[in-house]
Amino acid sequence: MSQSTSSYISGPRPGETTWIWLIKIVTGPLLILVLMLHLIVNHYIGSTPTGLMTYTDIVRYYQNPIIPAIEILFLITVVTHSLIGLRGIILDMNPSRQVLSVVTWLFSLLGVFSVVYGIWLALTIASKGG
């Protein structure tokens, strides 16, 4: 962290950088597209009257290998976007640097775990159809 020339209260905290913001900005629009797809799929082509998909619908839907791939991609973007955003909100609670690094680690673990769990779930559903 470069000791900045500023003489105001404290040196800038290095927590947020261009890349974190860029990821949030890139994942945002991506999310909208995939989410539209996700909502249409879940509310329009299911067999129940309100369009929700039953278990068998889902298994059949997952047979085409592209679907799990899209769903996993969707999971990665939504988890990244939401955790970066949530961390931004926590930043506004003015945490100390230690608390902030703990939060950052926690969220990264949570993100990785959710994605791994999602991949496992998608593969098990796909395998059910085999």
């Binding site: 989410l35 509310h43 278990y55 889902i58 939401s82 909100i89 506004d92 003015n94 959710s114 559903i125």
Partner: protein
């Protein structure tokens, strides 16, 4: 005098939610934040619930019956509403962040909110 003796504004971190003197941009920001928190909560709830899928059909279909319960249905509707309000407002923020329409951000917000409400209506009809 370092102890920042602030005055009427309440505690620090929820002060973005205090409506005093807020103008359009401030509301959009508060709305965006509320929907963000709601959506993130729903995301992890959604992931947890889907684990039923791995346990086999009866567990999951049993849960499906739950979605008819009005409270859960309203929750689902709220999620859909939050998605479009947050999403379209996010597009507005991205546009203004790259200088597009920055001077007309209020109109942009009104426009996107109308579009969001329309889409939400479509889904409401679909769900009820």
């Amino acid at each position: 005098m370092d102890q920042t003796r602030n005055q009427p504004s309440a505690g620090k971190f929820w002060s973005w939610f205090i409506p005093v003197g807020r103008q359009v941009g401030g509301w959009a920001f508060a709305l965006n934040r509320v929907t963000a928190i709601g959506l993130t909560f729903y995301l992890f709830l959604h992931l947890a619930v889907l684990s039923l899928l791995a346990k086999g059909p009866d567990g999951y279909n049993g849960f499906l019956a739950l979605t008819e319960n009005p409270i859960i249905k309203f929750g689902e509707w709220a999620v859909v509403a939050a998605v479009f309000l947050h999403g379209l407002n996010g597009i507005r923020i991205i546009l203004t962040s790259f200088g597009v329409g920055v001077t007309r951000q209020k109109q942009l917000f009104y426009g996107f909110t109308v579009v969001a409400v329309l889409i939400i209506l479509i889904f409401t009809i679909r769900m009820y």
